[in-house]
Amino acid sequence: MAEIVGSGLTDSRADAAAGRAGIWRDGWIASLAWLAAAAITIGLPDVIPWGSRDLFAGLLLGGAALFALLTAATWRRGGPGERLRHAGPWFIALGVWLALWELSTAKLGWLPKPFFSPPQGLLHVYVTDWQRLGICVLYTLRLWSIGFAAGVAVGFVIGVGLGWSKRFAYWGMPVLKLIGPVPASAWIPCTFFFPTTFHASLFLVGLASGIPVIILTAAGVQQVSRAFYDVARTLGATERFLVLKVAIPAALPNVFVGLFMGLYASFAVLVVAEMLGAKYGLGWYLQFQTAYSAYVNVYAALIIIALLCAGLVKLLFMVRDHVLDWQKGIL
């Protein structure tokens, strides 16, 4: 019944929104800003010429046209239209920022080469070097996914053991307290015994992501209320069942905190690990291009790294929301 009342409310709100939906003002302004950026790019002479200028201008024009079209279309109810409206100020800011960036680099030359590049410089990197960048992304993803998965899996098992078994905790906790705080990158000099640098990198990524998972999982299992165990035991649960069906599910919220910490820690060592003499990978790419003072390529790779990391964080959030569905309404 609550659902019907709820949807009724959203309907009336959406209708009200549709009522004033006549003009998407931000859309028009964004379109104009992008148009201005395109005009600056094509119209003014270049102080510092770069490749892909016309492609960049074309993209700006395309953006301006798209915003104009979206503005003309009528959007009803929530969903994509609502989200588009919400992002309106960002579209404007993006257009203004691209115009200023273009002016200050390619057109006026205030920000000098090679440390700064106009937007079309970045675009040019993607256009000309996309194959190598693509390979680097795949290498980095391979390193991250194997290292993170292995570190998290091992960390989870050790964490459950430390949290559950007093004897295991007696021997394991002091070791964990000693090793845990050491930054993973401090182990780099000790990775000589791995057969390849790839294995060494895997070890570093795994270690960085595993340690927080161990700590948070162990704490989570230890914090489970004794009442849950009492109930489960009177209902006939064996020790194995207690671990799998009470201790672990009860500790999962904590485990996910550990997973997020491990995720950030894994990013931190990922790039460093790839600078250990890897043949490909985004970390290697950064180092390689810095050596040639190709800062445009560095920026281009940094943007990819940012998108990649943000995407993985988002992915973990989605997994968490799915697994910890039962927490909705408690928190």
Binding site: D230, P249, L252
Partner: protein, 261 residues
């Protein structure tokens, strides 16, 4: 009457405490909690334990559940010593203690799942939910339930295992007074329908007299049995029944509230 969930008619358990004492080890000394408890409960009886707060009533239940061991004496089920928890003896706590990550259905199914019986006996979970009138809430999560509903789920989670002994630790202590009245009636109906032995801790004298055949009054810690009242009034009982009021006064006097009430 047989439990509608079970293939075979439910059995009830005889419970015995034979000179049971229990102390908890504190840092520097032994804290005596129970002292020389002798109590025999017949199969199918409904017994209430009354006593001052913190006197060790709950410990008595934990002993019967097999969650604690006595320091002296023996706790007996059908004449055999109790050595550990067993789903034939189930404890229902004051707090429903539902597993928040499990749906209502899966909470009720916990005991069957733990013993590997679930694949064959899924229908019993539905029957247990129907028994406590929560058939429509199978997919809800515990945090979506009211206090009374949560406690009914806890009862269903116990009853689905066909317990021969149901141990109730102030099961309605956290409920508002109206919900408590409803739940008392429901518990009584379940007990009469299913036929398990019931041992309930409460500090509500009226509740004890309304539900139980026998009311055992315990002293302050270390707990000893100071009085026992047999309630012969047939169900349904009226709160304002003269005989029950007289028994209530007697019990309150034993608990040390003679003059004030």
């Amino acid at each position: 009457m047989a439990l509608p969930l079970a293939a075979a008619p439910a059995r009830a358990m005889a419970l015995g405490f034979s000179d049971v004492s229990l102390g908890f080890a504190l840092k520097d000394r032994l804290l005596p909690v129970l002292e020389g408890i002798d109590l025999a409960i017949a199969p199918g009886a409904f017994v209430a334990l009354l006593g001052p707060s913190g006197c060790g009533k709950s410990t008595l239940l934990r002993l019967a559940a097999g969650l604690e061991r006595p320091t002296r004496g023996q706790v007996l089920e059908d004449g055999r010593p109790i050595t550990g928890p067993d789903p034939r003896r189930i404890l229902v706590f004051q707090d429903p203690t539902l597993f928040p990550w499990r749906s209502v259905w899966k909470n009720v199914a916990f005991g069957l799942e733990a013993r590997g019986l679930l694949p064959a006996e899924k229908g019993r979970v539905d029957a247990a939910l129907a028994l406590v009138q929560l058939g429509g809430f199978a997919e809800a999560h515990p945090h979506q339930l009211s206090g009374g509903m949560a406690q009914r789920v806890a009862l269903a989670r116990a009853l689905v295992n066909d317990p021969e002994l149901l141990l109730l630790d102030e099961p309605f202590g956290r409920l508002d007074s109206l919900t408590r009245l409803t739940m008392q009636t429901e518990l009584l109906a379940l007990w009469r329908k299913v036929g398990f032995t019931a041992l309930m801790v409460t500090h509500d004298v009226e509740e004890a007299l309304l539900l139980a055949d026998r009311v055992i009054v315990l002293s302050d810690r270390p707990a000893r049995i100071v009085a026992e009242v047999t309630v012969q009034k047939p169900h349904p009982r009226r709160r304002d029944d003269a005989e029950l009021i007289a028994q209530r006064r007697f019990i309150l006097e034993k608990l040390g509230f003679g003059a004030e009430v």
